[in-house]
């Protein structure tokens, strides 16, 4: 990965976290005993995928997430399914599923509304099949209709996340996630390089080579299932 991409990633993370750096300028702290027992389960549906399905005629997708808290950490799982049908001068179809799991670290555990800003890491895996059909105009052989397909292609990659959850009403939260997707690896496809990868996005950058890094943004509508009372850690004393 080039230095400029790393610089961009650093700048985005720095600028987004800037407000919280100011919050942490506090003189003294109270040491509290960590509570590692889970206290609640978040179950969410990815709103951005539902909106995308409604407004983008070529794409149907569904995604969701579950996370469980352990002290300041969250064990998180995400998954979804995607179906793409791009109808241009060619027809490209892609159907598949994706699954992501990893850990989040809550940066503001003492927030009295249990809002959350967290940094996370995910391992992601996708499995899909795709097909490309197009007419090739050739001055020697005439117009030929060509069809190529890949079956059971798998891809995996790593994601760095900045996540924000805000309580909006009773047990309902809104979540937003900024993702930086890296280290993509696609298993050898049968006939052609896939144009899309479910869960990752566009695999092929226009006119050049495949995308080695990607950036994504997701919105979630989350329900909080609380199964035991957990004390909010005391805020640091000034």
């Amino acid at each position: 990965m080039s230095l400029s991409i790393l610089k961009s990633i650093y700048n985005i993370l720095f600028l987004t976290l800037l407000p919280f750096i100011g919050m942490s300028q506090i003189a003294d702290t109270v040491r509290i005993k960590p509570d590692w027992n889970p206290s609640r389960l978040h179950v969410g549906i990815e709103g951005s995928r539902l909106i995308g399905t409604a407004i983008k005629g070529y794409k149907r997708s569904l995604g969701g997430m579950v996370d469980l808290d352990f002290h300041r950490f969250l064990l998180a799982f995400e998954g979804g399914a995607e179906e793409i049908n791009r109808l241009k001068t060619y027809e490209y179809t892609n159907q598949g599923t994706f699954f992501k799991w990893g850990l989040d670290y809550n940066l503001i555990p003492h927030n009295k509304y249990r809002n959350m800003v967290s940094l996370g890491l995910r391992y992601a895996k996708s499995r899909f099949s795709d097909q490309l059909t197009f007419a090739e105009e050739n001055p020697w052989f005439g117009t030929q209709t060509l069809q190529f397909s890949n079956k059971d292609v798998s891809a995996h990659w790593t994601e760095i996340l900045l996540r924000l959850n805000v309580h909006v009403w009773k047990n309902v939260l809104l979540g937003a996630v900024l993702r930086i997707e890296l280290m993509k690896n696609v298993s050898a496809p049968d006939q052609f390089i896939p144009f899309d990868i479910p869960g990752w996005g566009r695999n092929w950058k226009s006119g050049t080579d495949d995308k080695t890094a990607n950036m994504g943004f997701s919105y979630y509508l989350i329900y909080n299932f609380s199964f035991r009372k957990k004390e909010i850690p005391l805020k640091k004393i000034k």
Binding site: K88, Q191, F217
Partner: protein, 148 residues
Amino acid sequence: MRFWLFFLSFGFCLFESCNEIEDCTLDPYGNYAVATFDVLNDEVQIIAFDSIILEGFGRLPGDQDTLIGLLLPLPVENTEAVFHYYTDSSLYSLAITYKVQPLIYALSCEAAIRFYDLDTSYHSFDSLVIVGSEVHFDYVPINFEIYL
């Protein structure tokens, strides 16, 4: 909540800024390889063929012209193309092997075929040099230099 709204608008801006500008005229992939002829001991460096036959297809158009170069059509469904060059006194043959990779060059452009790993499995010319092993008009305008 305000920060969440900021985050939301940040996401929309990010999506908008990631839109790519696509120019289909920059598509560098074609469906033929290019060969040039270098005739030894001939100052004008041109050659006239009676006919050029592509096995499985037939005669290539324009094959009776005097030539300093020739386009070699590559069938997509095969991985080898065999050409026979007839002059009034001799017959030359050239068998090209290649790999095929379909791709969508850009979302709004037509799908293209990339021919790569071009090689020769047989030829009967005096000598032949593979100048470019990929059909890519930006990087390699000529694929084969053929010496007669």
